[in-house]
């Protein structure tokens, strides 16, 4: 499924890389522990987290993740957004909880 379709289906707010939404998402990973994401997420995963600080961008970049969804109305910090633009990592936000977001995406990708 294209990232753009996920954005539409879940009404996500796109914060960076609006032109990077043609990427394919094949699965997802939910975690707020960065070493866990480094170890256990896979390329082209959509990452669901409540972390908002700058290090999430490098983690997503190194792992080749499709994008980051920040949940529960949390907002990414300014330097996070700046770095995400440089590294071309789509960041999206939502008011929904990680549970809801993961559940919906799981259904959509099934």
């Amino acid at each position: 499924m294209k990232l753009a379709d996920l954005v539409k289906e879940l009404s996500l707010e796109v914060k960076t890389c609006k032109d990077g939404l043609q990427r394919d998402v094949d699965s997802g990973y939910v975690s707020d522990l960065l070493s866990d994401v480094l170890a256990n997420s896979a390329k082209d995963n959509i990452w669901i987290t409540l972390q908002t600080h700058i290090n999430i961008v490098a983690v997503a970049s190194v792992k080749g993740l499709a994008g980051i969804i920040i949940v529960a109305s949390r907002q990414p910090q300014e330097d996070t957004l700046k770095k995400a633009k440089v590294e071309k990592i789509p960041i999206m936000t939502t008011t929904k909880s990680a549970f809801e977001v993961a559940g919906k995406i799981y259904q959509l990708l099934k």
């Binding site: 972390q51 600080h53 970049s61």
Partner: protein
């Protein structure tokens, strides 16, 4: 893909060094992104590049969290990528303990950022083909990791 047929297996193809500054979370990941770019330019297999970047990121992060300063050194030959991360920090008293999954001395504010789950060293060990750690209390820590370029073991990781 790197044409390795005619080059001696131990001939150095690329080497580099990248400085690391303790406490500089804003720059965390830059050493591994730098290495990822260099290895990608060489045309190396995507999974191998990703594994090299993951272990470098974990080692880099430990320097940023626990040390004053350090360096990443990398050496690429047709046989392997060697990654050495060396720091001037307080060192590790009990390496066996530090290598245990879940063991962490990270302060609460680092844990809030999602680091400090005690997964870094186990990740490095699992993701590399060879892993060595050496530490002297009060002086610093050196982690050396090797990833094979043409190896069945590597491909199964």
């Amino acid at each position: 893909m790197l044409n390795t047929n005619s080059i001696p297996l131990d001939k150095l193809i690329v080497e580099g060094i990248f400085p690391l500054v303790g406490g500089n979370f804003a720059k965390a990941g830059e050493a591994s992104i730098h290495l990822k770019q260099k290895l990608t330019e060489l045309g190396l297999n995507e999974d191998i590049v990703r594994r090299a970047a993951i272990v470098t990121f974990e080692a880099e992060m430990n320097v940023i969290i626990y040390a004053v300063a350090g360096w990443l050194h990398y050496y690429v030959t047709p046989r392997q990528i060697k990654i050495i991360v060396q720091d001037m920090g307080h060192g590790i008293e009990n390496i066996e303990l530090a290598l245990q999954e879940g063991y962490s001395t990270a302060p609460p504010w680092v844990k809030e950022m999602g680091w400090g789950s005690g997964m870094g060293l186990p990740n490095m060990k699992r993701t590399s083909d060879e892993f060595k750690i050496d530490s002297v209390v009060g002086e610093g820590t050196t982690v050396e990791m090797i990833i094979y370029l043409n190896n069945v073991k590597a491909q199964n990781k």
